[in-house]
């Protein structure tokens, strides 16, 4: 295992080393200490490695991640796992705004709360938040799943295209064109798979969630609106 101390090594050196890794690398386990809230730690990794970060980080940690498993033993600043392509990012603390924003794939797990705009413009990422999410989460979401065990703030799923939103707690309000939909058998299967992937196998009942998604009225042609075109 490689340990990198960010009080000794510059962030640029660390990220350059991580970017140099080939997919076949033997250096598969990294531990990063003293992150001290720095920005852009572990951004742009493209290799199936495990990176553990010990402490709180600033903006954009694990952004654009591909294939790597990144475990953050602390809180994340804005934009954690932004535009993730694949792999897995696990925040053991809380995440700030825009967690998993624009993510195309992979799994983001937040053990604590995620604040505003979680999953904004998500494009295929799966996000499991064990606490609550703030306002405007899943704004303009296009694909993927957002699972929230706690509550959701105002305007959940505002202007949503597609994507499935599952909330176990209260939803303060739904955004434009976001509606509650029936939770059917196939959704419970999807949910069970996501909960298992987030380490919650058997401890949370998929039937206890409510499902929200697009009413498909905002971005879809409707004959009654013909006069407006």
């Amino acid at each position: 295992m490689r340990t990198v101390d960010l009080s000794q090594t510059s962030l640029r050196e660390l990220n350059a080393e991580l970017h140099r890794l080939q997919r076949t690398t033997n250096e598969t386990h990294w531990r990063i200490v003293n992150p001290r809230g720095q920005h852009a730690i572990g951004v742009g990794i493209d290799a199936p490695i495990v990176v553990e970060i010990e402490g709180h980080v600033g903006y954009y940690c694990a952004g654009m991640n591909k294939e790597a498993t990144i475990v953050l033993n602390g809180n994340a600043g804005p934009g954690v796992a932004e535009n993730m392509m694949s792999g897995r990012v696990h925040v053991k603390g809380d995440a700030s705004q825009g967690a998993g924003a624009t993510g195309c794939g992979g799994l983001l797990i937040v053990d604590g709360n995620a604040s505003a705009r979680c999953g904004i413009s998500m494009k295929g990422i799966d996000i499991v938040v064990k606490g609550s999410v703030g306002h405007l989460s899943a704004f303009m979401a296009q694909a993927g799943n957002l699972v929230v065990l706690g509550d959701a703030g105002d305007a959940l799923g505002d202007s949503i295209y597609e994507a499935c939103l599952f909330v176990q707690g209260n939803v303060a309000s739904l955004g434009a064109d976001c509606v509650e939909k029936p939770l059917e058998g196939r959704h419970k299967i999807d949910l069970a798979r996501l909960l298992e992937a987030a380490g919650l196998n058997g401890t949370v009942d998929p039937a206890s969630f409510r499902r929200y998604g697009s009413a498909r009225k905002l971005y879809h042609f409707h004959i009654d609106n013909l006069g407006s075109y």
Binding site: G37, G77, P78, G93, D94, S96, S115, A116, H135
Partner: protein
């Protein structure tokens, strides 16, 4: 951008370190606001006196200035910090001293209060803090600001904190959209503003509410409907420390608390050198919720 910080001490044993801790926090946020900086420190109060912080031009002869303000009376205790001087003025002489200051156009009253001292200048925040000797200042709480000017010129007048009443001041990250209308209203209530800055209006609004008898908590809560725009505020009063974010939470904010202190930073980076941070409770303040701490 811009960066704001605040530190409120619960443990009296670390009061001598307040300035040094604030200086470290301010320095970290230089890259969020390299244009100007300012800070307020709540230090010791002198009995029956008010502290007036006055700014003069660079290389101001404060000895001559103070001699003129003393007007042949007892000497006025003073501490010079670069371009600022903090005068301790007995209550009975305050009006006379202020009148004399107003007759000296090269001087500006930056702020006043029983305990509050306030300093601001153009320049990189770490250098500004060094020039004023922030790291040697003691006190119970303080707030600070690093400015990246986006809407008005880089001037000392545009630097935060803004103060509109004794012992009250405020730092702001964001921009307000209804400050002109509110400024006119506050002028009708008897407030005078020194700048066209939006933040000064927010400070004026809060001073107005507290002058009318509202508590700091009531004031922060009513600010949510009175102020339109983007804001994260950190507010200081003689004994209180408050934090408020707008309902949309446009501007970042992180808080941390231990049994020795409460701290605010625009980013967590600003808090990393505080004593005991590794075991502190660290959280993001919720939008539209007033947080406050009061010393008793």
């Amino acid at each position: 951008m811009c960066g704001i910080i605040g530190l409120f001490l619960k443990d009296r044993a670390i009061e001598p370190e307040l300035g040094a801790l604030l200086a470290g926090m301010l320095e970290t946020l230089c890259d969020r606001g390299p244009d100007s900086a300012g800070f307020a420190v709540y230090g010791a109060a002198a009995p029956h006196a008010i502290k007036i912080t006055v700014r003069g031009p660079r290389d101001c002869d404060f000895t001559a200035v103070v001699r003129r303000l003393e007007a042949g009376g007892d000497p006025l205790p003073r501490v010079v910090h670069d371009t600022h001087v903090v005068l301790t003025v007995p209550e009975a002489r305050e009006d006379a001293v202020r009148a004399e200051i107003s007759r000296m156009p090269e001087l500006t009253v930056v702020g006043c209060g029983r305990r509050m001292e306030i300093f601001k200048e153009v320049g990189r925040p770490d250098r500004v803090a060094k020039r004023f000797g922030l790291d040697a200042m003691a006190g119970t709480h303080g707030i600070g600001h690093t400015r990246m000017a986006t809407e008005s010129a880089v001037t000392t007048g545009g630097a935060h904190p803004f103060t509109t009443a004794a012992d009250q001041c405020l730092v702001h990250n964001g921009s307000l959209s209804n400050h002109n209308a509110l400024r006119r209203e506050l002028i009708r209530h008897g407030f005078a503003f020194q700048t066209n800055n939006d933040t000064e209006v927010a400070a004026g609004y809060m001073s107005w509410r507290m002058r009318e008898g509202d508590s700091l908590e009531q004031t922060l809560n009513s600010s949510l409907s009175a102020l339109d725009g983007f804001y994260t505020f950190v507010v200081g009063t003689e004994s209180g420390f408050g934090v408020l974010r707008d309902p949309i939470a446009c501007k970042p904010a992180v808080m941390a608390e231990t049994d020795r202190w409460v701290a605010f930073g625009t980013e967590y980076r600003a808090l990393v050198d505080l004593p005991g941070i590794s075991t502190a409770r660290v959280w993001e303040p919720v939008p539209a919720k007033a947080y406050l701490w009061e010393r008793h």
